[in-house]
């Protein structure tokens, strides 16, 4: 017998032994909580903390408010939360754990579109309701839609429709687009182009840039767009890519004398980091938390600030409204049977900090809207002004079109 042989033999033996140990170890994890009604929540906590931290604060606030007001039909609502590290595969592992070990009656959450789609498909396969919060892809409720999947936020299509309506009012005739090179950016640009052309047949597109998400080389991109001399620019960049684009574009005078229409830029997550370099006069969708004065939002803002001593981001609203909607569904269903829960959710109305919304029976998209306005700088920080709330129901396509988009079940 040689030394090496001993190693390799032990290696394989140890491998299988470790598998058994590993499984035993996993078996001790996640001991059941003494819960009355459990909801599973999955999000990209470690991959996207700038969104998910405020988001978590939002849903935790909602859970405590719900339980302080009698819970769900007298039962305590417990949210079991898991990280998906931004990967669909990990999200499915977490979903599996939540469903088969924690016994959750419903799944919620998600940020990335592909995570949302993976969870939606899991929901269909395992017959459990999934309420998506943030994932924006149109496929989630249309081409890949299914009976068990619902979505809270206004989709890519809806945001494009809101922005295209404003963009059509601009005198600009030549346009250029800058969008991250993946499904979200591609479909945002495609839908916006289609809807803008429907209102303004005279518009032409003279340049486009598709930098890699998270890796924009902003200088050359800004220079290339400037060289095409468009009247207006459509931007779909967000996060650190947006910061770089704004900085390079500003220095090079890219935005001077041009209209800019930009997805999501009014959200505090993306506007706050720009501080005193926030762009001025961009037409954006977003969340002007400082200036919304409705009873529903005032109450939410006060509760949030009292508890966290920080202002809410859009993620906070998504987390809060998501759990409020879920609570509404479970109250109405008063059952853990998935079919009953689907029936309860379809057409259900619920309250959000933005006002009442409901899940459409036809495609399970909620009618939660978004604020459309222009960016400005105030006290060294970016804000939105001249904004209005666009209800989601107003920007969805006709029912016949939606029916054609959804697969037959």
């Amino acid at each position: 017998m040689t030394g090496r042989a001993r190693v390799s033999r032990r290696a394989s033996a140890a491998g299988l032994g470790a598998l058994a140990v590993g499984l035993g170890w996993l078996g001790t994890a996640g001991a059941a909580l003494a819960a009355d009604i459990k909801v599973g929540e999955i999000n990209s906590y470690s991959a996207l903390p700038s969104f998910t931290e405020p988001y978590r604060k939002g849903w935790q606030l909602a859970v405590d408010e719900i339980n302080a007001h009698g819970g769900i039909g007298g039962k305590t609502l417990v949210v079991v939360s898991r990280d998906d590290a931004g990967k669909p595969g990990e999200a499915l592992t977490a979903a599996n754990e939540l469903v088969s070990r924690e016994g959750v009656v419903l799944l919620a959450g998600g940020f990335f579109s592909n995570v949302g789609l993976a969870l939606g498909d899991f929901a269909k396969q395992h017959r459990i309701v999934y309420v998506a919060g943030e994932p924006l892809t149109d496929a989630l409720v249309w081409s890949a839609g299914n009976r068990y999947t619902f979505r809270l936020r206004p989709s890519n299509y809806m945001q494009a429709a809101m922005l295209a309506e404003e963009a059509a009012k601009l005198p600009a005739k030549t346009w250029a687009s800058i969008a991250p090179n993946y499904e979200y950016g591609q479909s945002a640009v495609a839908v916006f182009k289609k809807l803008l052309s429907a209102r303004r047949p005279d518009v032409t597109w003279v340049a486009e840039q598709w930098p890699t998400q998270g890796k924009i080389d902003a200088g050359p991109v800004a220079q290339a767009i400037a060289a095409a001399k468009p009247d207006a620019i459509l931007n779909v960049e967000f996060g650190p890519d947006l910061v770089k684009l704004v900085r390079e574009g500003d220095t090079r005078g890219l935005f001077k004398g041009r209209s800019v229409v930009s997805f999501l830029t009014g959200e505090p997550e993306y506007l706050d980091p720009l501080k005193d370099e926030a762009p001025e006069g961009w037409i954006v969708t977003g969340y002007p938390w400082q200036a919304i004065h409705t009873p529903a939002h005032d109450a939410f803002l006060k509760a949030y600030q009292d508890r966290y001593h920080d202002h809410p981001r859009l993620g906070s609203v998504v987390g809060y409204a998501l759990i409020q909607a879920v609570a509404g569904i479970l109250r109405k269903a008063d059952s853990t049977d998935p079919e009953t829960i689907v029936a309860a959710a379809e057409g259900l109305g619920f309250d959000t900090p933005f006002g009442p919304a409901s899940f459409r029976a036809i495609d399970h998209q909620s009618t939660l809207g978004a604020f459309v306005g222009t960016t400005a700088r105030r006290d060294g920080a970016g804000v939105m002004e001249n904004f209005r709330y666009v209800d989601g129901a107003a920007v969805l396509p006709p029912d016949a079109d939606v029916k054609a988009l959804r697969p037959k079940e």
């Binding site: 042989a5 170890w25 090179n181 486009e208 890796k215 050359p220």
Partner: protein
């Protein structure tokens, strides 16, 4: 014309940014042979520390003092890491330091969020350089002009350091032949520490000077590390001048490439690297390494097949594992299936790494091709699961045969980086060909056929596949083919003298490993019911490497242990904590320090130690710097 000039300057500014970080990586690798995966993380730390310092001290002195101060602080931190961690690992198989620096990267990524908070941070603009200069009617940011100057200045200073000081002479000597430098009585330990510190300083400085252009966030490290590695390899490892030329090449191609193909950034650097490596196997300015003088250790005994009692023990373990679905719940059984699948993947990678000394940084390509092959067979051809799995393996085989044909002409890190380039090209096809692959949204609804739909049936399928794959690979290692593969690994020259060509043997092994990885990928599709481009991504390749290294690169099947430990640990940590990267990184660091020969190499630790103490050189068979 004016525009072309402005775009050229913009490209140069990007090149300078890239070069500052890349030069550090090139220096570190040249001397210490450490594949410093944490180099991007050091650049990220430089940016974060500079953010804090420049926020505290304003004005030109505050700004530049903050940037230099941050670079020095991070460099000192790098020195501490080198002394406390890496110094203990120089005697381990070379690539083991990759594992350690990978652990460090995970730790840093979570730590910066804990320390600096989750928001993207906007640093100040450089005082006096916030605006733009009008050049030929085009606005060129004045900070870009500074960067354009900074690149050549840094290059010049490094050149002076390397050519006009004793330290530089030693560094260059060690880059060329570090065994000879050690033999001449130079204390290698302090040379290594000094070089590592210098390299980290360049990384931190490169990260910090991006402050006026970037938003500081916790993803900078991974964004940088791959591009920087590509630049260093295109230029030729250890060649600072090469890194400079490669930075300019890559940045200018990108600046002008996007004018023709607006989405080209996705794949450009990898295409350039693949082309350069196919034409020049040692990069633009790299030289073939001096042949390693290390001979196969005289006392080393080759691995041997299992004895009869050991076979019985393994069979008993397989049987015991087969009982898991009888007592465990659905979740555990599903996690068990996933562990078995990654074990197949790790075993296939270990076959080429351990028996073939072919370290692949792009093994995910074949996992992903297997996955997409199986998925498309279901979607387009309507095939049931088993034939679809066979289709996946065929696609993986085709991919591995095609890419492998080019790769086996190279060796060492150049081989590794060419596999990475091909994997990234395959990834960009899956990512960009939305019509067929669904792009980033992936392909959905790919659940197993009825007979394997229950978690326990699928577990048994995975167990059978894993047992068969590992048995096949072990049989191959001990077959005449495996002996040939090990012969070209240990001494290509002697093997060739015996009529055994290196390239054909390695090519066959590479294609075979790819096929087995394809089986793992196909099973993964049916486990998850979906497939996404990340199955071909760098993350999957790195996971494979980590599992093999954790299991022990000097073993035949240690990767199976590594896969089980790594996957079980990451699934468990992710379900227990939001700081799973921090925890996983710390566990990896602890394992690296405790078991420098890998978990599977535990038993062999005592014997080789005495010999290695005498010759701190390298494991002859398995370094990324491997002999040509």
């Amino acid at each position: 014309m004016d525009f072309v000039f402005a775009q050229f300057l913009t490209g140069l500014a990007g090149a300078a940014s890239l070069f500052l970080v890349a030069s550090g990586l090139s220096i570190i690798f040249g001397v210490t042979r450490v594949v410093n995966f944490a180099h991007g993380a050091f650049a990220m730390l430089g940016a974060y520390v500079a953010y804090t310092l420049t926020a505290r001290f304003s004005g030109p002195f505050g700004f530049w003092g903050g940037i230099l101060g941050a670079s020095v602080l991070v460099a000192l931190f790098g020195a501490v890491i080198e002394m406390a961690l890496l110094r203990r690992l120089y005697r381990a198989p070379e690539l083991f330091q990759l594992l350690a620096t990978f652990g460090l990267t995970l730790v840093f990524e979570d730590l910066v969020v804990l320390v600096w908070g989750p928001d993207d941070l906007l640093g100040p603009r450089a005082p006096g350089l916030a605006g733009a200069v009008e050049l030929f009617g085009q606005a060129v940011p004045s900070y870009d002009l500074l960067l354009i100057a900074l690149g050549p200045i840094a290059f010049g200073l490094l050149w002076l350091l390397f050519h006009r000081t004793r330290f530089g002479v030693l560094v260059r000597a060690a880059t060329q032949d570090r065994e000879m430098v050690a033999a001449l009585g130079v204390d290698g330990r302090w040379l290594f520490t000094a070089v590592f510190t210098l390299g980290v300083f360049m990384a931190a400085f490169g990260g910090a000077v991006q402050l006026p252009r970037d938003a500081v966030n916790h993803t900078i490290d991974l964004r940088l590390i791959v591009d920087v590695f590509v630049v260093v390899v295109i230029g030729g490892l250890g060649s600072v001048g090469g890194a400079f030329v490669a930075s300019v090449l890559v940045s200018e191609l990108d600046a002008f490439g996007i004018l023709v193909l607006p989405g080209v950034s996705l794949v450009l650097v990898f295409v350039v690297m693949a082309l350069v490596l196919v034409v020049r196997p040692f990069g633009l300015f790299g030289r073939a390494e001096a042949p390693s003088r290390a001979v196969p250790e005289p006392g080393r005994k080759p691995p041997a097949p299992l004895s009869a009692p050991a076979r019985l023990a393994v069979a008993a373990l397989v049987a015991a594992t087969a009982t898991v679905p009888l007592w465990a719940g659905d979740y555990l059984v599903t996690v068990g299936s996933e562990i078995l699948i990654v074990a197949i993947f790790a075993a296939s990678l270990q076959f080429i790494m351990s028996a073939g000394a072919m370290v692949s940084f792009g093994h995910a390509a074949y996992f992903g091709l297997g996955a997409y092959g199986a998925a498309l067979a279901v979607k387009l051809l309507g095939l049931p699961m088993l034939p679809a799995l066979a289709c996946g393996m065929l696609l993986a085989l085709a991919g591995a045969a095609l890419f492998g044909w080019f790769c086996v002409r190279l060796s060492g890190v150049y081989f590794a980086m060419l596999t990475l380039a091909f994997a990234q090209i395959a990834w960009s096809v899956a990512f960009g060909w939305t019509g067929v692959t669904g792009g980033d949204n992936g392909l959905l609804g790919l659940w197993p056929d009825g007979w394997a739909a229950s978690p326990r049936a699928f577990f048994w399928l995975c167990l059978a596949a894993a047992a068969a794959s590992v048995a096949l690979i072990r049989a191959l290692v001990f077959s005449p083919f495996g002996l040939g593969l090990r012969a070209v690994r240990d001494s290509a020259l002697r093997a060739e003298a015996l009529g055994l060509g290196r390239a054909p043997v390695q090519w066959a092994a590479f294609a075979l490993a790819g096929t087995v990885a394809g089986l793992a990928g196909g099973l993964f599709v049916f486990l998850k019911g979906s497939v996404f481009p990340d199955s071909l991504g760098i993350g999957t390749s790195v996971d494979g490497l980590v599992m093999v290294l954790l299991g022990g690169i000097g073993t035949v099947s240690g990767g199976v242990v590594g896969a089980v430990v790594y996957k079980a640990l990451s699934v468990w940590l992710i379900s227990q904590t939001d700081h799973s990267k921090l925890a996983l990184g710390l566990v990896i660091l602890a394992l690296v320090l405790l078991f420098p020969a890998g978990l599977g190499g535990l038993a062999s630790r005592l014997a080789p130690r005495r010999r290695r103490a005498a010759a701190p050189a390298v494991h002859p068979a398995v370094g990324v710097g491997g002999a040509p």
